[in-house]
């Protein structure tokens, strides 16, 4: 019986985390897993901290997990990794997008953006993967592909590359963006050894 795996995606409202989770969940369902996915809607979407959780295995009951339970944390924004780090299992993995979005207290100058987040995470979690998805997305010619690039890295980190992800992209994004997103997903996968 396949043990249930827990994925936590974190970032900032507007970064496309819900679409990223949808791509991931669709692939896992196509592969025959039972899947549960939990989203938070409403007020948090207005530039606030946002998470979604995806759980998969033979049979999944709870849609959510508590602290110390995520097999992998994927953070679409650097500082958000700090906020959710204690949700990761001590022997789990972290994927960090090296991309900063200042929050309101930083913008108005009452706080500074914290330095050394990536180094600190690496000290806590051995298996930490860092990528610069914004740079990669700009190379692809569309900053909005950043979320799909991150999903690519996540897929590789979870060793799920056997699933037909091209098909998943065709099912989840608009026809005219399919090719670009397939490319984005591959680009993300190549970031993880």
């Amino acid at each position: 019986m396949a043990e249930v795996k827990n994925i936590l995606l974190s970032g900032v409202g507007g970064q496309g985390i819900i679409l990223a989770s949808k791509i991931l969940a669709t692939g896992l369902i196509n592969a025959g897993y039972d899947v549960k996915m939990s989203e938070v809607h409403g007020m948090a979407q207005r530039g606030g901290s946002v998470t979604t959780q995806v759980r998969f295995g033979d049979k999944v009951y709870s849609p959510i997990i508590g602290k110390g339970q995520a097999d992998i944390l994927v953070s679409f924004e650097t500082m958000e990794t700090s906020r959710w780090l204690d949700f990761v299992k001590p022997d789990g993995k972290v994927v960090i997008n090296d991309y900063r979005l200042a929050s309101a207290p930083i913008l108005i100058g009452t706080s500074n953006y914290p330095e050394g987040v990536i180094e600190f995470v690496k000290e806590q979690i051995d298996d930490t993967i860092v990528l610069n998805a914004a740079e990669l997305a700009n190379k692809l010619g569309n900053i909005k592909t950043m979320n799909v690039i991150i999903v690519g890295a996540l897929i590789k980190a979870l060793e799920l590359e056997e699933i037909d992800w091209d098909q998943v992209i065709k099912e989840t994004v608009k026809a005219k963006f399919v090719d670009m997103n397939i490319e984005a997903l591959k680009l993300g996968m190549n970031q993880v050894k």
Partner: protein, 593 residues
């Protein structure tokens, strides 16, 4: 093939498959997508946004009396608004099946409290059903309609955020058409004048006994026996947490029909286990009733009734399990509260209002509640839908009577004004109030994700419709001083506020500009025109005074080393509020000058 659906999508599907032909709701997280998904069945179901939850429930009630299957959906606090018809609905019962979906929000993800609405079912003497996941959300709705007609009772279908907004695999069925029940007048049932109401009450008590008998036998309340001495009575999403924690090492009485409770079944279950836990989210709704019936159990002594549960909280509370976690460095975390978006029309208004001294500002529920946050700090109170205007009125009267020289400004959104703000403004006009009332009309119900409302000119099913004219409306109520302004023009806003302060009597200011995220209608394009070019900071002119950051725009940051402001071109929409705020003309439009 199974579909991957949220609980909300599954409820909508369940209503469709049940042959529902009328549904009404008022948007509110986490319930909003229920009606949005029902509205997609345009050929089969009339779906409507009502101006508030009371209207939604009454409309659904009317459709039921007309003989059709109907549904009303709302968030937990919306049921408070609908409580008046609800309690009498508890007496009358129904004709066509009626389901009221109450979406509770444990953890206050997007709400002002975390009330447990199962108590409404007990209080109003109606049936309560609680699904645990998306498949049950679909299946249980179908059973709810059957029960509603068999027992002549409305069903409170109680969901929670994690059921509403979690996706799971769902097997769909087909729609079974429900033939409308021929209309006959039933005055003894539906005219609840005291003489009839007195006769209805014993009928209700008798109905509850029949429902309890059903509760003891229905598949909604099922026992899972395992080889264990532990028994768990649980309901809703808490069942899934219990299964994660105890797996096959406990026996379960899974309650899907939670009012009236299956007390005989619970007693039998309790008699066959050594330790009995009650695992329920929020209040001890089941536990209290079990204890009154002499059933010994462990519940809220150990499991918190504050906030939402998860598997770890239960494992810790009942098994003393400590989960190992990695270290967190608080110095590497800065808060990330939600903010008004770049280009939000509320920003210009609040920025100008925040400069006024000696004012009390009563606020309301919507995106603009964020006007209360740093750096704008332009709202003093937020309590419930529509309260801004009436609370402001009472405060202004109290100040005046007691010789306190403070002016009151009441701030409310367009949809919230039509929800329950209108009544409050009638109070202001009738009782000769003296408040400044501001309707922030952003041409859509924004916070819950852009729903149409009586001010937008479209229905939830996309049909053009009548559009409320706020100026005419408030003038008809009796407000003599009414002005409409563009909230992105700071001088216009300031003049409107000053004129209102100087006017002796109640006034209304309407700020009219679309939400920055709104997809413009043809009317919007004609009225508000194309979006203009972005703004940028001319570094030579920037003195580093940081005044532009006081607008709280998420696209503006301040570079401490260069001592210059910076506008992120990826976020700026060119609203020009910062441009007007700059005392040194250091912000310009890209491509101009």
């Amino acid at each position: 093939m199974k579909k991957f659906l949220t609980g909300n999508e599954a409820v909508a599907r369940g209503a469709y498959e049940s042959g529902v032909t009328y549904a009404a709701a008022y948007p509110g997280t986490p319930s909003t997508e229920i009606l949005e998904n029902i509205a997609l069945y345009k050929e089969d179901i009339v779906a409507e946004w009502a101006p508030n939850e009371k209207v939604a429930l009454e409309s659904a009630f009317g459709a039921s009396i007309a003989g059709a299957r109907s549904l009303a959906a709302m968030k937990h606090v919306g049921v408070n608004v609908a409580a008046d018809p609800l309690f009498t609905l508890g007496y009358t019962g129904v004709t066509g099946g009626l389901v009221l979906v109450s979406a509770d929000d444990p953890g206050c993800h997007s709400s002002q409290n975390e009330q447990d609405n199962r108590y409404y079912a007990k209080f109003a003497k109606m049936a309560c059903i609680e699904p645990s996941d998306s498949q049950e959300s679909l299946d249980f709705v179908k059973e709810a309609y059957r029960i509603s007609e068999e027992f002549d009772v409305a069903v409170l279908f109680r969901m929670t955020t994690r059921v509403c907004h979690s996706k799971g695999l769902v097997e769909e069925g087909v729609r079974e058409e429900f033939e409308i029940i021929p209309y006959v007048k039933q005055p003894k049932k539906y005219i609840v004048a005291p003489a009839n109401a007195r006769l209805l009450h014993p009928v209700v008590e008798d109905r509850l006994k029949k429902l309890e008998a059903y509760s003891n036998n229905t598949f909604l309340n099922r026992i899972e026996w395992n080889d264990s001495k532990i028994g768990i009575v649980t309901s809703g999403v808490a069942y899934t947490y219990a299964k994660e924690v105890f797996g096959d090492n406990a026996n379960y009485l899974k309650i899907g029909f939670s009012y009236p409770l299956p007390m005989d079944k619970i007693k039998e279950f309790a008699g066959r286990v050594e330790t009995l836990y009650v695992i329920e989210e929020l209040e001890p709704f089941m536990e209290e009733q079990m204890k009154v019936n002499g059933i010994q159990c462990i519940g809220k002594d150990k499991i918190p009734n504050v906030g939402e549960l998860n598997p770890d909280i239960i494992a810790h509370a009942l098994l003393g399990k400590e989960i190992e976690t990695v270290k967190v460095d608080e110095s590497k975390i800065v808060g990330r509260p939600p903010t008004l978006c770049a280009g939000c029309p509320h920003r210009g208004f609040f920025y100008q209002l925040s400069k006024k001294k000696n004012v009390m500002i009563t606020g309301d529920i919507g995106c603009y509640t964020l006007g209360s946050a740093e750096p704008l700090n332009a709202i003093d109170t937020v309590i419930c839908m529509g309260a801004s205007i009436s609370m402001g009125h009472g405060a202004q009267k109290a100040f005046a009577k007691n010789g306190v020289d403070i002016r009151v400004v009441s701030v409310i959104g367009d949809s919230t004004f039509m929800h329950t703000g209108i009544n409050s403004l009638i109070d202001v006009a009738y009782n000769k109030g003296n408040t400044v009332n501001v309707i922030l009309d952003n041409r859509i119900t924004a916070m819950t994700g852009h729903q149409q409302n009586p001010g937008t000119g479209f229905t939830v099913q996309g049909e053009p419709t009548n559009q409320i004219n706020f100026e005419n409306l408030v003038e008809a109520i009796g407000i003599k001083h009414v002005v409409t302004v563009n909230p992105l023009k700071l001088d216009e806003v300031d003049k409107a506020l000053e004129d209102a302060f100087n006017f002796d009597g109640p006034s209304v200011i309407i700020t009219r500009w679309p939400c920055a995220l709104k997809k413009y209608s043809q009317q919007d394009i004609e009225e508000f025109g194309p979006i203009s070019s972005k703004c940028h900071v001319v570094e030579d002119k920037c003195k580093g005074c940081r005044i532009c950051t006081k607008t709280g725009c998420p696209s503006i940051s301040f570079d401490v080393t260069k001592k210059k402001a910076f506008i992120d071109p990826n976020q700026c929409v060119g609203c020009e509020v910062c441009l007007q705020s700059c005392p040194f003309d250091a912000i310009e439009k890209v491509g101009e000058k």
